[in-house]
Subunit: 245 residues, 8 copies
């Protein structure tokens, strides 16, 4: 339904201005002064708004969560330090903190709706925080997740031992720091979409993940798309959209 | 079937060494000296090998194509200049050249198998070569494609006029140069996976597409993954895998 | 008038859907396939659409100009090489080419409407092409322009000799390559808005204008804003908006 | 009046050397040893000197303020941490600290002189410190300011709901981190000068605001000029010059 | 023995599937959940797995070491802070900490097997931590090491005084920060392989070692290869492989 | 023999000043005005001077070669375009041009002295020019070379099929562009020194080989050292030193 | 004499306004429209204006030279291609072209006034164009110059053989590309000011001279200052000021 | 005296081997294990070794100073934090700490030997630490210094008021952060060598001084050479060599 269609319906009395406005997504926000909470996100984007905790105070986060309506999936806050969670807890006693993922959920994780699964694969042990952010996000959005950790190419037989599990996924998230070569190797071995997440694990010319990012963007293997450094959440968001197609 | 399963089957006489070798994907190549053509790619990766024409001579490209077996989809060569195509044509009289896309196909484009479609959206007129590389690749892989061109955010009503068409796609490719803001805006309006392609259109601090790439990697909208600058082919490859899930 | 106001007016029969659609800026485009010409730009942005010639073929440019309605100011095309203009000329016999500015105008330059003027100041002789792009754009948008060229800080008395003319402007454009210090010096001497344009004049660590850009962004003088490298057009656009306040 | 005019007036006895010297802006400074306070700035640049607190000790800041003459607008200090303010307070009991803006004012904020206003628009909640630095600076310089916060493009209907307010401004400041796309979208919807401020909000390839800066410099929309990352003060300075034309 | 050879041997009953699997290096790992310890590394790569301590918790490191089988050389952990070692010590009472090298060994350093030696040469005193990481790694892998410290080119006679010792080595490691010129000078004076290690010693445009790295990659002298910034371990690993040829 | 030893020998009459000067490597040059040919390089560095053709005129190159004494290995010129070779040929009729390698040799390639060999491995067909520069240099220095081309990780079974040949080498050169992941994969599978050469093959964020370089410097596999982008010569020089230990 | 002193002298009738204006360096320019020739440069800066030919047309250069008054040293134009010189020659028949230096002089080179000399030292043959630009500039400014070419650190004995000549200079210019280590080595051996000039000679990570520049800025030797990449002119300008102290 | 001259003198018995060795600067070091103190630096480089305190422990610094022989100028240590000085003081009771300069001297500052002076000029108050490092170094090396602080171009009349003092210097050091334009402006007004020091004062795109560095390297004024960011010491070293010519 285009804007003109909506307008014609209003003119025809088939739609009230208020309903049309809703359809055009006008004013579906909760204005808190410091924040303008987007209440139509699930309808527009498939999943409800997720709170990025890094740039907000504990008070702001609690305020935003309290302004959000009941929703089918848990309210997810990412990039939340343990300290900030401790400050939040009195205001949100039902909140659960996920230490490695640095995330908080309010509301129970849904039971995955389908047998399709997302494989979350990491190169090393140091990539776990990003992997857990991705896995938890995917679970919060109702997906079944299989974790395949520490199978980097320095010992490539570790990857081959888990290849069947990876190949069985509907979409694969590959998470790697240092030189990020794992994405190319996995990409050359599967026929499903692969979302690569560079991590800031490394030193010197790793440039806080820039090297892994460049590796992934320039992969000689096909079927690979990339998200920002350490963006486990973003990878899981796209993977969830794909897994639930 | 893991490597150990295959080995057990060999030991049990259920599999010949040759068959096992095939299954382990050993030696499925055509070794031309200068090239080692990968003959198991479709089986492993969903689509057959595509030839990247930029770094190869006309003779090498013709040789590789002649070494490739008959396949269900056309043999696609990307990044092929008109000059190189002219040099190739005598050796490959059945080849078809696609000028804007800078691509060559050998074999007829398949009739799209399904009603699902991929939307290819561009910000400006200058993004057309990348968009056509993406669209042609997607068509060569058997997808229906909808083109939505020149709807950049400087005149955002042009985008809203096409929004229903974009929202109807199973996966959306957004192609933009300059500041690349179109990806974020479309990402905020749809609930399907979005693959963003930065283009090298721009000047000065655009840095040959780096600015658009960074924009897309840092989008405030979710559900966006990114490929290399001007990589229309790569975006279409991933989009095809998604569209055919 | 907000979207809701418009919708209420439609519901009340005070506005036809078509008029509302116009007001909401829907569908005011001329869709040429390769381009989607924005016909409401002047209404929205103060000046009509200007054609960026660098990424378009001569045929595309001619097509776009022919699709544009008559307008109060000349149709301006920037970044147009002499070769492309020669190819265009048969289709647009009324077009005028401005060699140094690398611009084309279709339609007479307007007589400046007011005594307020824009000063266009350059550091050196090599900055002239950018300066002329700026000056011509400002003139095409109906402004009076004063050119003050080659007054770089290596011989700062040249600047002081022209200071009264610069101070008399309503808005000042400072154009400089190399180290771009002129922007800071002028900025410290005037009380009007200054728009700085870095140029790609220089070599080595100039990095095609990056050094001048960084200088301008980090100026110790206040009242300076900056546009992209070599973007004379952009500086003139903003200066015109300011000069016509 | 050029230097030669001034000299002729001196020779003609129409001007004392001291007055001429004043006119030529020589020696209007207060030399504190560590600082050389510029006492003619308001006359030259429209607004009095503002103290950049980041690189100075509390003692230096207090000394500079005490050396400044009475002025029509409050003495503004930016980038002042709460700790440094606490150290300053005994020496400047009349000073007021603005926590979110990290600024200090000495002297009452002026009543805005005119109905013209500056709109300060942000993409997200995390951009508030920069926005408040801009808003406070504009108010200190005697402008009326309208704040429009958290209207980023991930939920673009939030922007459209505030569009009339933004369009009513004489000059608009758009503040955004992450990918900074809001500047382009607003720029495509208004006909007033837009000053874009990139913020260092983001992570990974955001590069502490570099991505937003590049986005803004390469905007496909016209009428946008840019200041340094997090430079709310600089944007407000230019906006004030424009708003008071 | 190729994969096909292995498979034929399995089919011929000359090799059990388990033995073949071992030969193909499948499943020789110890899966700890957070880590997948690579137990075939010494067989594949010449030396056993070394633990990179920087991205792991004390508990993870202790767990990995306890999962490793007895081996001929000590278990080496690099990039281990004194704090983390203190936390580890109760679990690994036999561990020895090497302060300057920031390394830990479990098991006695082997007596060097041969008269061939590795020279570890530094430009300055500040390069010692990297040099000691290199020297200790080489010793842990059974090499004799000669240390030649603080012979940078600012006082080049210091280098010439030690030249005979350097020339006597089978392989030379040159470690330098700042501008890293020592690598070129030594490279021009010896006829053995030289491995250059840039260090992050320096300030300003040193960019945390990037300058020294670039110097080493662009050396006008031949026979120089380079490792990552501060990567004493990596240099020693390659040098050990060479020294033991 | 240190400098002091040499001086004592001179004082003792055991060494003439001229001989001592030779030993101290003073004045062993052929000064051509524009060039100062280094005649003691083979004695100092293991192999005679090689001419880098890129920055020299044909006349200069011919002059340098004619000034060089007879030597045991052929005189090698690298980075020599076909055009420059054509200009050189009349002056050097015995010279042989190697097209793919862009190299010229004067004098016959030596028969390899030993069974030890260097493996030159490439990821793709486009890496051939760099690979041939490396292979030819190694051959000119008297090494046996095994070429293993086009075994990139997108079809990793191609690599495994050649693994025994690679593992048999005394030193391995891995040459790759795009994301350069092949170096890490090979590095994880062998126990010999590996020299990685990034190539400038790729586009967009490949940054003319920078991505492959960074990948190789940050490899999670050990035993890898790196040379400058496209520096096949440098890799072969170091490999030759190692192969002839 | 300060501005106030000048003004007092004007008031006292001791100085005419015109003379005062001259003293204050006002209006000593020749305004050609496209250029504003600085006629007081020699008085202010020690040497007359030198024309940077790269960004100017042949017509502009001829015009500027014809506008310049007779001066004691030749008029120097740098960065002048042979093509542009050919176009200039008819207008300036007395001009002399210096091929390697890419410079033109009008007027005879002065006989050096003093025994003090500037040493111009290069690392390699490819650095000659920059070295000759430096040497010619120094000669045009009346200095005696000693050229010491191709003494790079790969064969460091070549440098020691010329050390006495270098040490005898009053100021030394060191010119090097690739890794630029020569500056540090020379800097460690002399007690005179050293001006280092990085050249754009090199490839890959040389980044068109950036590596040599960084090396020189981060030198462990003292007494080194640096100019822009390939800026032989700038080095000679400063060296001339020093040599003539 | 060349190496060959020295050798001939040894052969002729005119020089003992030990004396020759001294002349060739062999073994004039004090080897402390962690440091190899260069005892011939003053003879070679004009001034004795200065200790860079940043990368050394308090114990190492004390050890080095105690190993240095008595010298005519004070022993200078730069980049020494107050904490490290406090740790050093018991071992070096005669040491004096200079707070703003972050330097320590052992031994009295010499009385300047001559009327020639070095001007140290800064743009702002925040540049003082670098300026004091430069001034103190120059004084330690026996120069008379004139400080001209806080005369940045935002209030350029402050500079003109001090111009006579600056012009009177034999060599000028200009220190500036932010955009660093002061160097160009001063460079255009004097006829003496100017050494520019960029400082890390600034934020955002200042990139810790990179912008000021680039400005200075690309100055349109001549006679400017540059040192590393914040390198007050290096500027003073070169300035001292020039001032004492």
């Amino acid at each position: 339904m285009t804007t003109l269609d909506v307008l014609n319906a209003v003119a025809a009395g088939q739609l009230t201005p208020q309903a049309a406005s809703t359809q055009l997504e006008v004013s579906q926000t909760a204005d808190l002064g410091f924040a303008n909470v987007d209440l139509s996100r699930q309808k527009r984007n498939g999943f409800p708004e997720v709170i990025y905790g890094a740039g907000k105070t504990a008070t702001q986060i609690a305020g935003i969560i309290q302004a959000m309506p009941t929703q089918s999936t848990p309210i997810l806050t990412t990039r939340l330090s343990a300290e900030k969670f401790a400050a939040l807890q009195p205001a949100l006693p039902q909140a659960v903190y996920h230490q490695t993922a640095q995330c908080m959920t309010v509301g129970a994780l849904p039971t995955p709706k389908q047998s399709d699964y997302i494989a979350v694969v990491t190169a090393g042990t140091s990539d776990l925080p990003v992997a857990e952010e991705a896995a938890l996000t995917a679970q919060a959005f109702g997906n079944h997740v299989e974790r395949v950790y520490d199978v980097g190419v320095a010992g490539i037989h570790r990857l081959f031992a888990k290849l069947a599990l990876i190949r069985g996924a509907k979409v694969v998230i590959v998470i790697a720091g240092m030189e990020g070569a794992l994405a190319s190797v996995v990409g050359g071995l599967i026929d499903k979409p692969l979302i690569a997440v560079p991590t800031s694990v490394g030193y010197g010319t790793n440039f806080q993940g820039m090297t892994a990012l460049l590796t992934m963007l320039n992969s000689c293997a096909s079927g690979i798309t990339v998200v920002n450094i350490d963006n486990g959440f973003g990878a899981a968001y796209s993977a969830s959209l794909i897994n639930q197609l």
